[in-house]
């Protein structure tokens, strides 16, 4: 029984990793080998041509920077708005807390396309088409309900006595929040920021709509519109290399922060 279970879990791991591993292997094949039918499995030679072309002749460095700037600023902005609200909610009456939580859940319920057109109108009105802030604002706001939940669950675990003691020592609510609660919660803040970063890095529809210049595109959009730049054949080697470089940073993040993220995902979602 347990051997069978191990085998099944092992097989699941293979299925999980396999598709990306195949692209990693393919990305270092030569273009001659990539064009063979049927495809080879192990590469016969190693070539970094695809990566060189991606960064030297195509604007992937630019896409990378755009994704990084947008995702980082969205995560920071989201924390800045979510942390005080989550703290105030964690100390509010049960009735108010649960009604506001329900409101936040309702917000998370709507598919993102509901917001698309009015946001596009606003972006154009503010002359922000192709500007990173056209994405930063929406990403921060749309991740806000989840970030508030996540942090609220964490802040509620901070003992009430700590706040009472701080008040006796003459610390204001703001002082307690900035000097005690925030330093105590670095783990939760970091996990929230990482998740918002991942969601923003992965977003596609808004980026596709608000960013149409090559110099403004994010990685997901740049990569998925790459084959449109070729008329005859699909540049599989380039796409494979692009898949590798756009997933790699996130795999590192999830490997490092996995435990905290998972704990927070469940706790934040249930409280």
């Amino acid at each position: 029984m347990s051997t069978l279970l191990r085998l099944l879990v092992f097989a699941a791991c293979l299925v999980a990793i396999g598709p990306l591993a195949w692209h990693l292997v393919s990305s270092i094949k030569t273009s001659e080998e990539l064009n063979r039918v049927p495809p080879t499995i192990a590469p016969e030679g190693v070539s970094l041509d695809n990566y060189v072309e991606l960064f030297a002749r195509r604007p992937f460095l630019r896409y990378y920077r755009n994704s990084f700037v947008v995702a980082t600023l969205a995560a920071l902005l989201c924390l800045l708005a979510a942390a005080p609200a989550a703290f105030a909610l964690s100390r509010a009456s049960t009735r108010r807390r649960s009604s506001i939580s329900a409101g936040l859940l309702l917000m998370a319920f709507f598919p993102p396309i509901v917001y698309l057109l009015p946001l596009y109108e606003m972006v154009r009105w503010a002359d922000l088409v192709n500007h990173p802030w056209a994405l930063i604002g929406p990403y921060a706001a749309l991740n806000l309900p989840f970030a508030i939940w996540f942090l609220m669950g964490y802040f509620r675990q901070i003992p009430k006595e700590l706040g009472e003691a701080a008040a006796l020592d003459g610390l204001t609510e703001e002082g307690f929040f900035t000097r005690m609660v925030l330093p105590l919660s670095t783990e939760a803040l970091l996990a929230t920021a990482v998740l918002v970063f991942i969601f923003s890095w992965n977003e596609f529809m808004f980026a596709l709509t608000f960013m149409n210049l090559e110099t403004s595109k994010t990685l997901t959009v740049g990569l998925s519109t790459l084959s449109g730049a070729f008329s005859v054949e699909v540049p599989w080697g380039l796409i494979a290399a692009g898949i590798v470089i756009s997933s790699a940073p996130l795999i590192v993040l999830i490997a490092v922060f996995q435990k905290r993220i998972v704990a927070g995902l469940a706790a934040g979602a249930l409280k």
């Binding site: 195949w22 993102p112 469940a266």
Partner: protein
């Protein structure tokens, strides 16, 4: 408890409320209002109030009904598969002690892959000439010659389901795995002493604790599956012949290609209404029923 004055509320909630108001509440209301207007390229982008005419048109629009049926089917099949596989994996990994950190990381990898990128991953894997899936299937003689998986309606729907399951089983797994972690070991030991077998443990110890986690995972997955856009847009573009067009993709085209903003809003709001029906059914089934019986 400090009383909530306006000044205090503004200090703590002000930024969050402003951001949500501007980027979520206002757009939501505007989209809802637009359903009552004829607004788009044809009338030179001057909004004209037309009452419920958009909904009348929608009712007769077979493309809308097809996309709704596809979206519901897609959500139902993928969420069911993801739940079964994710739950099974969570139980299996939990029962294996040690080495599970690397296993969890490996299993989480597809979830971190951007959906649009995951779509590209599968487009190439399934390609009829250069794809590895065809090569493996022909090597083991399951099929005689390569198949264009994205070329026919039935297979394309299957391909989308496979890609979505690959991408999101990890999410369900991670939530349920952390749920199992909250079950005290003593409960299982007590059950073992009472002579309970695998199914008894699952039914009387694991499931009651897991129900809330399952609800969270399912509700989030249902919402996301219902909103499916990236995967369809990149993998099939809604084709072949509109067979895989989801509500979001149809609405997106209506907005951005046909430039019919009022009608696009009507498609979305009607889709959301359908989603609300499904979600409340799920809620009653999973949460309320047990509250009455408990």
């Amino acid at each position: 408890m400090v009383p909530l004055t306006v000044a205090r509320a503004a200090r703590w909630y002000g930024f969050a409320v402003t951001l949500l108001g501007l980027v979520a509440v206002y757009p939501l209301l505007r989209t809802a209002v637009l359903t009552l207007f004829d607004f788009g390229l044809v009338n030179g982008f001057r909004a004209r109030f037309i009452g419920i005419d958009n909904f009348v048109r929608l009712y007769a629009d077979s493309r809308f009904w097809n996309s709704l049926v596809f979206t519901l089917m897609f959500a139902l099949v993928t969420v069911t598969l993801e739940f079964v596989i994710g739950f099974g994996l969570a139980l299996a990994v939990h029962s294996m002690k040690g080495a599970s950190r690397w296993i969890r990381t490996a299993l989480a990898i597809p979830w971190t892959t951007p959906t649009a990128v995951a779509a590209l991953v599968w487009v190439w894997l399934l390609n009829d000439q250069f794809g590895i899936v065809n090569r493996i299937l022909t090597d083991v003689h399951l099929i005689e010659s390569p198949i264009a998986w994205l070329g026919s309606p039935g297979l394309a729907i299957g391909a989308l389901i496979v890609a979505d399951v690959w991408k999101t089983v990890p999410f369900v797994f991670l939530i349920l795995y952390s749920g199992i972690g909250t079950i005290p070991e003593e409960l299982y030991e007590a059950m073992a002493i009472d002579g309970g077998g695998f199914w008894a443990k699952l039914r009387y110890v694991t499931w009651p604790v897991m129900r809330d986690f399952v609800f969270v995972a399912l509700i989030f997955r249902t919402i996301q599956a219902f909103a499916v856009f990236d995967l369809v847009y990149v993998m099939t573009g809604g084709g072949p012949g509109g067979a895989t067009e989801s509500i979001s993709v149809y609405a997106y085209r209506t907005y951005m290609r046909y430039l019919e903003f009022g009608y696009g809003a009507t498609i979305i709001i009607s889709g959301v209404a359908a989603l609300a029906l499904v979600s409340s059914a799920l809620y009653v089934l999973l949460v309320r029923r047990h509250e009455y019986s408990a």
